[in-house]
C-alpha cells in the first residue's frame, strides 16, 4: 500500500483485496463484547472536514477509536479563502500537533492530492471525499458489501468481484462515489454500467472502464447489484432534468423495477437517501437494500485503511489478549 489513500485508481487488485480481507478481520471485532483493538494506541488521527458530513466523519471517528487512536475533529467548514486561513496553514498547524494521519473531506476536487504532495505534512492522507472527484473509502465499503452479499463472508476472503455486473444509477457527473466505484470495481474485475440521463453523464466518460446506458429498465435484469446515487433536487434548477417526478419515473428505483432484478441481486445506496426521488420507501426498506449494512461495513473498511496505512504489516487482530502494540515505526 502507498502512504496515502487519495484515489481508488491508486489501488492494485491485491491492495484492494488486502483491504477487504483486513476489513473482515475488523468486522469480527465488532462482534466482541469489547469492540476495541490497541493497534494504533498513541497515534493521532485528525478528521479535517471542510464540508459537513456527519456520517462520514463519525464513521472515521469510530474506526480510529476502535483502533485506540487519539482522534481530533477539526471542522473547517466554508472555503479556506473566505475563512482567511489557507489549506496550507491548516495543514502546517496539524503537522505541528503531530498528526499521524489526516482524514480530509473538502469541497474542492484535488484538495487531498494537494495536501499529500505539497510537502506541508508528513503523515498519511486519507481522502474522505473531495469535490466531485473521489471518495475511495466509500467505494471500498461498497465493494466489501458486494463481496459479502454476492460471494460470501468467508467464501469471499482472498477473492475479488470478477464477473459481477454492477449498475450505478444517478448523478454520475457530480458523484465522487461513482468515480471511485468505477475505478475500484474495474480493478476488482467487475463489469460496471452507469445509468443516468445524458445531462448527468460527464463529457469524457468514454474513456472510463465501464458501459453507459440511458435506459434503466434495459439493464436491471442483468445486474447483480444496483447502486442508486443521491440526486439533489436542486439539480433540476440547472436544467439537468425537467422535474423531480420525471426523474423518479425514468431513473428512480421502485418496487416494480426491483422485481425485475435477478433474485440474488442487491440494492445499494451510499446515503443519505432521497426517498421518493431516486428510491421509493418500498425499496429502501426491503431486505434487498443494503444501505444500513453499508454504514456498518464503512467502519470496518475505515479501520482496515487506517490500520494498513499507519500500522504496518503485523496482524491487526492478535490471537491473544490483544495487547501487542507497535509504538515505533516509520510512517
Amino acid at each position: 500500500m502507498k502512504r496515502h489513500l487519495i484515489s481508488a485508481a491508486d489501488l492494485t487488485r491485491d491492495d484492494a483485496v488486502l483491504i477487504l480481507d483486513t476489513a473482515e478481520e475488523m468486522a469480527r471485532v465488532a462482534d466482541r463484547p469489547i469492540k476495541k483493538l490497541p493497534t494504533l494506541r498513541g497515534r493521532t488521527v485528525v478528521n479535517l472536514f471542510f464540508e459537513d458530513s456527519t456520517r462520514t466523519r463519525i464513521s472515521f471517528e469510530a474506526a480510529a477509536k476502535r483502533l485506540s487512536a487519539d482522534v481530533i475533529n477539526f471542522s473547517a467548514k466554508g472555503s479556506s479563502v473566505s475563512k482567511g486561513e489557507s489549506l496550507k496553514d491548516t495543514a502546517l498547524t496539524l503537522e505541528a500537533m503531530g498528526a499521524d494521519a489526516v482524514v480530509i473531506r473538502h469541497h474542492d476536487s484535488g484538495a487531498p492530492h494537494r495536501l499529500a504532495t505539497s510537502g506541508w505534512i508528513g503523515g498519511s492522507v486519507v481522502n474522505a471525499g473531495d469535490g466531485t472527484h473521489e471518495h475511495p473509502t466509500q467505494a471500498l465499503l461498497d465493494a466489501f458489501t458486494m463481496r459479502r452479499r454476492l460471494v460470501g463472508v468467508d467464501a469471499g476472503l482472498g477473492h475479488d468481484l470478477a464477473g459481477r455486473r454492477i449498475t450505478i444509477v444517478g448523478d454520475i457527473l457530480h458523484s465522487r462515489v461513482a468515480r471511485s466505484n468505477v475505478h475500484l470495481l474495474h480493478t476488482l474485475g467487475a463489469e460496471v454500467t452507469l445509468v443516468a440521463p445524458p445531462t448527468l453523464v460527464p463529457i469524457g466518460v468514454e474513456r472510463w472502464p465501464c458501459e453507459v446506458s440511458y435506459d434503466l429498465d434495459a439493464v436491471l435484469a442483468k445486474s447483480d447489484a444496483v447502486m442508486m446515487l443521491r440526486v439533489q433536487r436542486e439539480r433540476m434548477n440547472a436544467a439537468f432534468f425537467p422535474t423531480e417526478r420525471e426523474y423518479a419515473r425514468r431513473y428512480g428505483l421502485n418496487g416494480d423495477r426491483m422485481a425485475r432484478m435477478p433474485e440474488h441481486a442487491i440494492v445499494m445506496h451510499p446515503g443519505p437517501m432521497n426517498r421518493g426521488m431516486e428510491i421509493t420507501a418500498e425499496v429502501a426498506d426491503s431486505p434487498r437494500c443494503t444501505a444500513v449494512e453499508q454504514v456498518a461495513n464503512g467502519v470496518s473498511i475505515r479501520m482496515a485503511v487506517l490500520y494498513l496505512l499507519l500500522g504496518g504489516n503485523e496482524p491487526a487482530v492478535t490471537a491473544g489478549n490483544g495487547t501487542s502494540t507497535r509504538t515505533e515505526e516509520s510512517k
Binding site: S86, L87, D108, S109, A111, R179
Partner: protein
C-alpha cells in the same frame, strides 16, 4: 552622439551582418561596418546570434494600479525587456479598472517613467468590465495614452448588442475590440478544459464550445458592421477553423495565441498543481497542434503572452481556490523557439512577423514592429538561439513566479534588448 555596433548578427535568421545604431536610430546595415569614432562607441560581437525587431506583446497584465503585490509597471516592463519586448499592451483589468482617460493616462505615464519598455494601455470596453455600459472609449483614445485597443479581458463582452455597438463605435478612430471569448453561462464553475481529464478529476469543465460560439458570433458581428475584431488567447482547434473561415471571407479578424497554449496540455492538471490553472484553460494535444499549425500558416496573427502575475499565496493552495493565470514575458520567445522554430514550423522571419510586425500593426503602434534597416527606430532584440537552460523563476525580473515552466529546459536566451537605441538588457541582465 552615441553609437552601438552589433557585429555579425543574423538579421531575422539571415546571413551575418553588422548593424550600426546611432542614438535612437539604425543608421546602417551591412558588412564590415565600423564606428565613426571610437569615443562613446560600443561594439557588441553577436557571433551569429539572431537579431529580431523588438518584440511587441498585445496582451500583458501589469497589475498596476491595484495589485502591486503581484506586479508593477516597473517590474512588469523589466520582465518584458528581459524577454526581448520593447512594447507591451497593458490590460485594463486593474483596480480601479482602466475604463477612464485618467486611469489609462496613469498607466501610460508609469510606462514612460519605467524606461524599460513602451507601455501602451488597453482601455476597458465597458464600465468596470461589467459588460453593461460602454466606457468612454473616445476619451481614452483622445487621452495622452492614445488608446486604440479596447478589451474587457478577464471577462467576455457577452451581450451581443454591447459588442456590436463597441465594434461600431471604435471605427471612428481605427480602434479594435479585443475579445476574451468565453460564454459565461457555459463556463459557470469552470476549472479546466472539459474532456477526458476533467471527467476523471471531477473538476468543472470549460468546454471549447464556450469559446467558439462567441468567436463565431463576433466575427459575424464584425463583418456586419464593417469593423475589426481581435480574438484574445485563442485556445481550441475549433476556434482556429472559425477564424480561418472568417479570414477567407476577407473579414477584418485577427487572433492571438499564448505561448502556453502552444506547448502545454490539460494532462498537466492531473497534478492538481494550480500553476497550470489558467483561463482559457490548457486544452488537448490536438488543440495544441492545430494552434501551432494556424500560427505557422498565419491564420493566427500573433503570439501574445497573457502574462498574468499572481502572488505566491494565490497559487500555493488547493486548485479550486487558486487564481487563474501564468507569467509569460520572460519565457515567451523560448517557448516559441521550442514549439515553432526548432520544430521547423516557422523561420525567424516568421517569428519576427508573429511577435513584432503583426502585433504592432494590430495595435497601430508607431515605431515598433519595423524592419531592421537603416532609418528605422533601434528597437531590437538579440537572441542566443543555441542556448539551452532550465527555467529558474528565482531569477525572474517579474515580481511574480507563477511560471508553468519551472525546471523545464527551454532553448534560447535574449542577450540584448534595445529600446530606441538604449540597451535595456545586456548579456541577459537588465542594464
Amino acid at each position: 552622439m552615441g553609437q552601438i555596433l552589433i557585429r555579425g548578427a543574423k538579421i531575422l535568421g539571415g546571413e551575418p551582418q553588422d548593424v550600426l545604431i546611432t542614438d535612437e536610430t539604425i543608421t546602417a546595415v551591412g558588412t564590415d561596418l565600423t564606428v565613426s569614432s571610437a569615443e562613446g562607441a560600443q561594439v557588441i560581437e553577436a557571433d551569429g546570434k539572431i537579431l529580431l525587431p523588438g518584440l511587441v506583446d498585445l496582451h500583458t497584465h501589469l497589475r498596476e494600479p491595484g495589485r502591486e503585490d503581484s506586479e508593477t509597471v516597473l517590474t512588469g516592463t523589466k520582465a518584458a525587456a528581459v524577454g526581448g519586448f520593447t512594447a507591451v499592451h497593458a490590460m485594463a483589468n486593474t483596480f480601479p479598472v482602466a475604463d477612464t482617460a485618467g486611469v489609462v493616462e496613469q498607466v501610460w505615464r508609469l510606462g514612460k517613467e519605467s524606461g524599460y519598455c513602451d507601455v501602451q494601455p488597453v482601455g476597458a470596453v465597458t464600465v468596470g468590465l461589467e459588460g453593461k455600459k460602454l466606457a468612454e472609449l473616445g476619451a481614452m483614445h483622445d487621452s495622452a495614452a492614445g488608446v486604440r485597443v479596447f478589451s474587457d479581458d478577464g471577462k467576455c463582452v457577452d451581450d451581443a448588442v454591447i459588442m456590436r455597438r463597441a465594434l461600431e463605435y471604435v471605427k471612428a478612430f481605427d480602434g479594435v475590440v479585443a475579445q476574451h471569448a468565453q460564454e459565461p453561462r457555459l463556463t459557470e464553475g469552470a476549472q479546466m478544459n472539459e474532456g477526458i481529464v476533467s471527467a476523471e478529476l471531477g473538476l468543472g469543465g470549460w468546454p471549447a464550445v464556450a469559446e467558439e460560439s462567441i468567436i463565431a458570433r463576433d466575427v459575424l458581428l464584425a463583418a456586419h458592421v464593417g469593423s475589426r475584431v481581435h480574438i484574445c488567447h485563442l485556445s481550441t482547434a475549433g476556434s482556429v477553423e472559425i477564424v480561418r473561415w472568417a479570414k477567407s471571407k476577407g473579414w477584418n479578424v485577427t487572433a492571438e495565441v499564448t505561448p502556453h497554449h502552444l506547448l502545454l496540455t490539460d494532462e498537466l492538471v492531473r497534478s492538481y498543481n494550480p500553476v497550470y490553472k489558467v483561463n482559457p484553460p490548457l486544452r488537448t494535444e490536438a488543440d495544441v497542434m492545430a494552434l501551432r499549425e494556424a500560427l505557422a500558416d498565419g491564420t493566427i496573427d500573433c503570439v501574445a503572452t497573457d502574462h498574468a502575475p499572481h502572488p505566491h499565496e494565490d497559487k500555493d493552495c488547493e486548485w479550486g481556490a487558486a487564481a487563474m493565470g501564468m507569467v509569460g514575458l520572460e519565457t515567451a520567445l523560448s517557448v516559441v523557439q521550442h514549439t515553432m522554430v526548432d520544430s521547423g514550423l516557422l523561420d525567424w522571419a516568421g517569428v519576427a512577423d508573429r511577435m513584432s510586425f503583426r502585433p504592432a500593426h494590430i495595435g497601430r503602434l508607431e515605431g515598433h514592429g519595423r524592419p531592421v534597416s537603416a532609418g528605422e527606430p533601434a528597437n531590437l532584440t538579440l537572441l542566443d538561439s543555441a542556448y539551452r537552460g532550465e527555467v529558474d523563476p528565482a531569477h525572474f525580473a517579474s515580481r511574480s513566479r507563477n511560471t508553468p515552466y519551472e525546471g523545464r529546459e527551454l532553448p534560447g536566451r535574449v542577450t540584448h534588448t534595445f529600446l530606441r537605441g538604449r540597451a535595456t538588457v545586456v548579456d541577459g541582465k537588465l542594464a
